[in-house]
Symmetry: D2
Subunit: 503 residues, 4 copies
């Protein structure tokens, strides 16, 4: 049975060969709950070994011309395409999502690497001539040093690729701690990075749990940390990291609403919502988990069309691309989602479609839950205030667009949102006034493309700068401003005079 | 006797007219220690009144076209020029610095307003056509809401002007809490802002102490805070503010070294060091307080030339522009500086010039201290590890430039530094490898001009983004990314068909 | 009677005091055709005198810190506001437009000066660290030298302010040749520039005709020329200037269509069209001169509503702000416009409103023409293919939006256009596919604001870069790229060794 | 024997299979003057066929999401690396340069493709919120349509790669006309482009002579042309193309001086000059062909060291990487260079090293010329005023740096230049005041890296915008500015009211 270890200083190290004994934790396939391997949980000492390697690699890596650092990304991009099938299998085995969906995630990750290829452009500083008499000034965006990334279970390929490629392209070295639920894929991709030419120590991977995280957040050699996960942990990471002198960006939870206007093309909206609500079992921080219908007519039609579509959904093992949805990631998470469904019913929401009795033949022990649809959800219900992170779509009914916007603006989270309409004015009013960081107009999952940046508002993000895209360059660098004057003390003018005397 | 109160919702309010009783604290003239007025110390309730005003003013202000918000800055700029003499008198009366020096500070503040006039350019978002089939995406930089600024005694005009003009130009509303030692100037400038057309509630000033600061840092309606002061307070402000969900940038202390190379033009270097070390009594976070001479010859000549220059320095009342240096800000601060000088002697540094016995005729009660020069200072001494913030220049002697750079790179602070040389290669090596945020080459006070940004490294700055210039735009705004698709459902194409049927 | 002369090397010079005899031409008031002054037409020698002054002033001006050059703009802005009434009178006396309209033009000009205040930001070059091992590279945007501007009669204040403020802020010196029909205002504004602090020779004004233009276009000392006028002259200016080694941008004619969709708010569209078609008598290169109605219903309603509005239009002397429209600029131009109206009737268009018999009491000799409205205009008619530059609005009728877009895309010009609709998809399709440089969605005069750039497509612009805004910075500067390496030959490292030997 | 034809609409077509008979011209190997193939010279009809293909491919290509267009570049980059040896052989066979040198050229070309991968970032428009009340405005950089490139013999791989990859990444389609002396490599690379996924018609190659060039410059369907070659042809291309309504950038000749200062590291300077003067036989527009020594001492040492180095140079067949220099491109060009050498001698320059008698065993019929070194060259000599484009380095002697700079500033060309010094002030003064577009400090061939832009000043470039890098994005796109307002006519607010009535 495989043991997923660490990648430190360019070498794979397993707990059993390491001088510092790591603990081991089982890896299970969510489709069957069979144990498929074990992951090493790094001790503080192991993490410190990785930090030492990253620190040692930093001075040389930092001084390498940017174009040379970036050139590795082109090779990595090729290797990811060549190994796409294997990567997706690793994702599906540990996470459960359908292979096609894993491929979509990987593609997004590759697009981030493509953006990293813009680093020579993005790292340009600002040069000002004559800020004073014969005085010039310019800014440089210098790397920070050793950076860390702590990533979640739900996008085991993509989220790490948001972080370390740009971080190292900017001249930093990096330590990645992937989710201990889905560690194989990130480790394998890091190995491909080494194959592509990343020097030893520049990129390190440590698997682990809170001990590893705390070591990364408190070690003085770490200059910056990026985190994606739930809001309570994000807040902990932000507070702990900044208290220890680090730059931190910590991405937390979400509750993303789509407003459906009476003038929207409903067939289009329903098709969009199906993917946005149930894709990847709703285990996405950008999933649409609430549809707010403006007007009862809109709501009635919407619910009817959703019901019809849900009836067509195929749920089953993620290795079979015929399926639309796989299992949830763990039994514990399945239980949590079912608990929230029960709470919804108790609080008075109408469970129009109940996916709880789903049986997947041959996978009876998997963490399966069919698509669920609630109607007449209200703002105070737990299924509205909490992030469910499961295949549960809530429909809310309001009389006006303003009412819908108030619901969104009053929510704790502000990650993503979407408006379905045909009306230019409604779109402009919505995008201007909604207190959410990523806004879609007729686009249900408004994840910014790789040359823009990802980030929510309110308690969906702790930190000033968004992930990937232009903001990530600013996050992974610090500004240095040089002001330069060369006194005209006659050396240049006088150079000719010195020579006759030498003759 | 004048009472310096608050500016809330467009109106001056003094403690005695306010329903919430503010406490009052004496204002003294550092040149005489006479009481020249009193400053109201706002209660929590008074600060909350200001926050409420700022919150109420926000929606309208935010929606005003950027160009209209910025237009006010042109008028303010004129008013500052027209009232420059009065502003400088207010500075000198409370801070002690020479009028000329106050004028220099004000000029820097005006330059920041000039940069704010670039806001329409700086606030441009990024627009991408065809991020997918007929899908466009763009980012906007939207204002945050109510922001706060907490500013130090030493630049009572300039540092507030780093903050609120850009903050409000970006569409935020603002609450400024100036230093309670030097409050008059910031309040007066804010009044000029109102005169220039800033609507009621958009810019508010509260005077106060820790109670006011803590209210600003913990009230949930405040979205962001900028702070300039000492490192321990900066760290407190950063930790407290971020723990309460705010974006914070907190600028702290400094210890700025100049390296003097053997090939430097020493007359030029000495002239530069005199201003950089003793200007404004060294009460500047960008003051050069350490000169590191490479080679004993360099050091010997440097010390000799400095001694000669110091002998020419005129110290006296700041209202007389004949003087080069005024008093320190308070008796307490004078005592602290004198204590550090004593410590330096005890630790073995050589006090080449001793300014402690200075008497200024007619101002015997003022906080006067003559220029002091230490030679043979070493890295471990308190006069090197602590920020003195007084007219004390330390000379260190090293054998090589690398040794000098190591001293700087190992210091707790990383605000500013300077190299005096004629050598292109030395300049490049220094500016690349020195761990300091603001670097001068033959420029002793490398304060970035207004279209660049101000910020130190290490424990001189808590936060990701620098002050004023381009970084301040990013600090005072949050990114929103919109992804937009207009489904081609035939409405446009079919419009003609509807008309025959209408005929 | 006033004589409008030249401003050369900081001094006003009239033909009669100049050693080179200029010719004189009458200036007439278009409202009465009375002679109100004379304008000097510069000889080649006079223009060369101006060029010599500009060339002499260049080296010092170029080396002035950018912030100092820009600071003059703040003062000029104030002077323009203070002298606004006088400037507008000069405009109205010579051009005829209503004072309010002149004030709008001046305001646009002031906004261009405000954008020029962003020059320190816009002139930043791009700095790249480590393009090779210890090799840095950066670009600078250096000024060109002496530049020229040749401006039209219809915006005597605004168009010159598009050009010379940015040109000189970038470090160039400048020679302006305003229209000889409306020269007073540009000369007066230039005098205000001198008052604001522009040094002698940096900004020069020569009045004149083709002799002056040709001198500017062929003299080797002129580095660049900006022109606004008709397409044939624009083409001549471009060809002549580039053949003589100059950078040229030449803005020509226009025929701007508005498409009115069936779903548009017609009251809003009609109100917008009235101003866009008849404002300033249609003597604007951004005037809407064609309304293309989609569907006969739309057309019928549109024409009826326009007729009703036209009946309310007040035409009369521009000095009376009660009027909506003043006279055309010259009798010759009036005749030309009337000739096109006759041609339109002969070619079969339906003249729904005929403004030709208008009499303005007390101004019977003025160049007055009432608002005219043609219906059922087709693409081949002269009133569609030619730029009328008069108060004549043509309505075209089409069945589909695509048909309307084809008409626009096939026209010789591509300056501005507008779509009236409520439909997001139509707006996106239109703005993407229309072959026009400046596009309005429900905005009839889509003149870009000052922080964007102005420019048409097709034969509306000869040259690569647009006017004012970001493009103008690129136009008035040339790129220089420096690549720098400092060989590490041991000088820095070895400096310490030289010193013991000196002891 | 191979026949080099055209690539039109995705297919290779040879003259003999084309309906329009192309003429054929011999291709010779410059090392032997043997005929190694023939190149088809396209007729007007063949070129028009390519234009038609490019025009047909444009609408679909333009609408493809930018990221998809760019993704092809990643594949092309891989193919270029895989086929590097073959490409270099094609270069050396037709041009003569040493294989290593061809590899350097190809590498530069690949770097340009890497920069093109930044296109999604570079094509971002500027988005302004609230330019007026609820009015937004943004700019887009839209493609031009069909573009053309006309490239020289001396960089058969690199210069085409400056042009078409960025042009098509921006959404244009393209027609390349390579030099008829060295056509094979560009055609082969274009075939690799097709293999990488460029759709038929998007990239076309026509080989040819003046007939092809004139067709491209006059056909109204071509929107823009980029040219690199000699100054007279560049001027012709610019004049002809712009007269036919095209955007044109035309890069011409050069005479690049290096100033050698007394404080320069002479060994370093000499090593740099050897490569810069004699690499690729001096057939580079960035070759250093003049070394200006400041002071006779400097000159004497410089000449002596150069002589010593020249004695080590190996000249011979380019297929042998042991050689430093290969043959000149043609016998005619060899004769021209020899003629200039004779002229130099006649005008009084001192031919210190005479390479004219060189014989390369086994290649007696090749176009070989050994390295030549002139001393005591003066500004008026033909060998100084003309671009020699051969292995001839001229040394000039001056007393001061200013004298050296005057020589450079007075020369017709202003492509590249270099200063060898250690002095920071001299470097700054030089780079600021030298009238040359590309400046090196201790860098002899200051060709900007791919993320900067290439361009000379004076008669080295006709056009406003430089090649590759950021300027090329601006060159290959046109600005469109959209101003958008959505009237709030109650549709959004009223949507709820329509529904009760429907029930």
């Amino acid at each position: 049975m495989k043991v997923i270890g660490h990648l430190i200083n360019g070498k794979l190290t397993h707990s059993d060969t390491s001088p510092q004994q790591s603990r081991l934790q089982d890896l299970t396939n969510p489709s069957t709950n069979e144990v498929i391997g074990r992951v090493a949980l790094a001790s503080k000492a192991t993490v410190e070994e990785a930090i030492a390697a990253a620190e040692a690699a930093y001075p040389t890596w930092r001084n390498l011309p940017t174009a040379k650092r970036v050139r590795i990304m082109y090779r990595l991009r090729d290797l990811l395409e060549e190994n796409a099938d294997k990567i997706c299998e690793l994702i599906t085995q540990e996470h459960g999502k359908v292979l096609n969906d894993a491929m979509g995630e990987l593609q997004r990750g590759i697009e981030n690497i493509e953006y990293v290829c813009s680093a020579p452009e993005m790292l340009k500083g600002e040069h000002s001539k004559n800020v004073g008499p014969a005085i010039d000034s310019w800014s440089e965006f210098q790397p920070l040093g050793v950076c860390a990334g702590i990533t979640p279970f739900n996008f085991p390929a993509m989220v790490p690729l948001w972080m370390w490629p740009m971080a190292i392209a900017c001249g930093n070295t990096f330590i990645l701690k992937p989710s201990e639920r889905t560690p194989s894929c990130a480790l394998f991709i890091a190995e491909l990075g080494i194959e592509a030419g990343i020097p030893a120590g520049v990129l390190n991977v440590v698997n682990g749990d809170k001990e590893a995280v705390d070591t990364l957040l408190t070690d003085r050699r770490i200059q910056a940390a990026s985190f994606v996960g739930s809001t309570p942990i994000a807040e902990y990471v932000y507070t702990t990291g900044t208290a220890h002198g680090k730059r931190v960006q910590a991405f937390g939870g979400a509750k993303n609403h789509a407003i459906v206007m009476p003038d929207a093309d409903l067939d289009n909206a329903v098709a969009a919502l199906m993917g946005a609500a149930y894709g990847s079992c709703g285990e996405r921080c950008m999933a649409i988990s609430v549809a707010v219908a403006v007007g009862d007519d809109t709501a009635n039609t919407l619910v009817a069309k959703l019901q019809a579509q849900i009836a067509q959904l195929k749920v089953g093992d993620g290795m079979d691309n015929q399926n639309d949805m796989g299992p949830l990631v763990t039994k514990a998470h399945l239980n949590k989602v079912q608990g929230l469904i029960t709470a919804g019913i108790e609080e008075g929401a109408e469970l129009v479609v109940d996916g709880r009795n789903l049986k997947v033949p041959g996978y009876e022990n998997g963490n399966y839950l069919g698509a669920c649809l609630f109607d007449r959800v209200t703002a105070e219900m737990h299924i509205h205030s909490c992030e469910i992170f499961g295949p549960v779509l809530c429909v809310m009914r309001v009389d006006t667009m303003q009412e819908a916007m108030d619901i969104i603006n009053n929510h704790e989270y502000g990650n993503g949102t979407c408006l379905f309409t045909r009306d230019g004015e409604a779109a402009r009013y919505f995008s201007d006034n909604i207190k959410v960081g990523m806004v879609g107009i007729n686009v249900p999952l408004p994840v910014p493309v790789a040359h823009h940046s990802f980030g929510g508002w309110k308690r969906s993000l702790f930190g000033d700068l968004h992930a990937y895209g232009p903001d990530s360059v600013r996050f992974y660098t610090k500004r240095k401003t040089i002001t330069q004057r060369w006194p005209a003390s006659g050396v240049r003018e006088g150079m000719q005079f010195s020579f006759p005397s030498n003759n």
